[in-house]
Amino acid sequence: MEKLWKIIDLEKSFVIKDKYGMTKKIDALKNINIDIEKGETLGIIGESGSGKTTLGKIIIKLIEPDKGKIIFKNTDITNIKEKNLRSLRKKFQIIFQNPYRSLNPRMSALEIVMEGVAGNKKEKIEKGKYLLDLVGIKNEKFSNFPSQFSGGERQRISIARALSTEPEFIICDEPTSNLDLSIQAQILNLFIDLKEKFNLTYLFISHDLKVIKFISDRIAVMYKGEIVEIGQTEKIIENPQNPYVKTLFDIEKQQFSI
């Protein structure tokens, strides 16, 4: 299979001020090596503060890495110029956790989605309407503003917006953790449908093992900035090697599943 992304020896540290005003270096990511194949869903699971979101943001160059290489479709984009990155950015999109913060409150649903579409105004409106319809927003609600939508609907608009640039790769950064169980089920179904329709590749970040298990082909477990285990979903779940991963799955089995 074709490799879409190759991440080699990625490292990132942040300098923060602690409570006494002293500067301190924190290693957010250490020795990250992953490949993402075209058409797969790679799930990333870990506790809060383990570096999941940082990793996602570095891959699509929203944050600069300290060390390492990021290769997208055989081109090294680690030190790419901003100008060249712009045209590439259409190929990868991100969906954020909180749909209450990630949508512009002053733009209507249709405006939000058509902003990213290439073409003249008529094409933009047409494509925007098509995408909103595809993600299940009702026709009469197209000109509503984000505040008039429920959480699940807002997340649907975020998804339509991500699709508007015709991407190949989407980072889903905890897209369902703010949603109720019944709405989460709808959104997860939508993700699977869209993947098949547009032949997408997902990097699915979540702290919820149930969701990750359901949606991903492969799982990477992160702990304190490192990927401690990566492999096929079934293999990892049946026979985890790392002790941390083992306890994590045991806890899930004992307490949070039926």
């Binding site: 169980l181 089920a185 004992q254």
Partner: protein
Amino acid sequence: MVLEIKNLVVSLDTFYKRIEILKNLDFSIGKNEVVSLVGESGCGKTFTALSIMKLLPKNATIEKGEIFIEGENITEKSEKDIAKIRGNKVSMIFQEPSSYLNPVFTIGNQMTECIKEKISKKEKEEKIFKVLKEVNLSEDVFFQYPHQLSGGMQQRVMIGMAIINSPSLLIADEPTTALDVTTAFHIINLLKKLIKTHNISVLFITHDICLAINFSDKIYVMYAGKIVEKAPSKKIISCPLHPYTEKLILCLPEKYKKGERIKAIPGNVPDFSSLPSGCAFHPRCPYKKQICKNFSPAEVKIGENYVRCFKYGEIVENN
């Protein structure tokens, strides 16, 4: 019965109109019983807890019904009398521990404040050290400020404060939602242990139905301000009666293999300002009949379960 709620109706005054949040709430919690209140966001779980604690916002009123704590009716009590019950007979732990601890006082200081018994300072201190040990915290925590503790430790402090007066009822409002899986696991185990050793009844509020099943003896499922099903936790997985419970369990991703579609419930969780007529679940219900649109169902007993659905006999609720 430690807690008994009879036909409770609570409404909220909004800018436009008065809306009923809790409708004919009717349930009880027996001695040493652990009951979970399960439902999606905005279905009135926290509102129930706040009515029991009498901590409702100013624009909310109890219109009808009674709340009994250990046989005492608290609905008509004055604020002064309620203050004696609150934190003493009934105590509560919240979702976000960091926002309920005062950042400018030490933990010891805040815990001393909680003790309602009239005992000397030294005795109070000893009591706090004992409680800290029970919640698996070191004695150093006594002298520390909330920001020096992690989220899990803060939640332990909250639990310590809640049990320090040995209450008969503990209300836990999503105590593990803000925590990581591993931390949540330890907190749940701690709660389980303390409930046993102190003989506390618990009202556990959560949106996580799996956690509720593992944690409690009974489960009450709430939808749009009503308890639609009451059942022992084992029963709720094996034979859920209400269509909402049945479909909600089917929404769990772990029930499916990879590549399958989840059998999701169509539509959205209704908003209190525009609730559907009749049974509030009917627009999303696959079994809906004509009667569901016009009337709300009464509670019927089927085996060990209590359920509000016209599927099990068309008995209309009278207001």
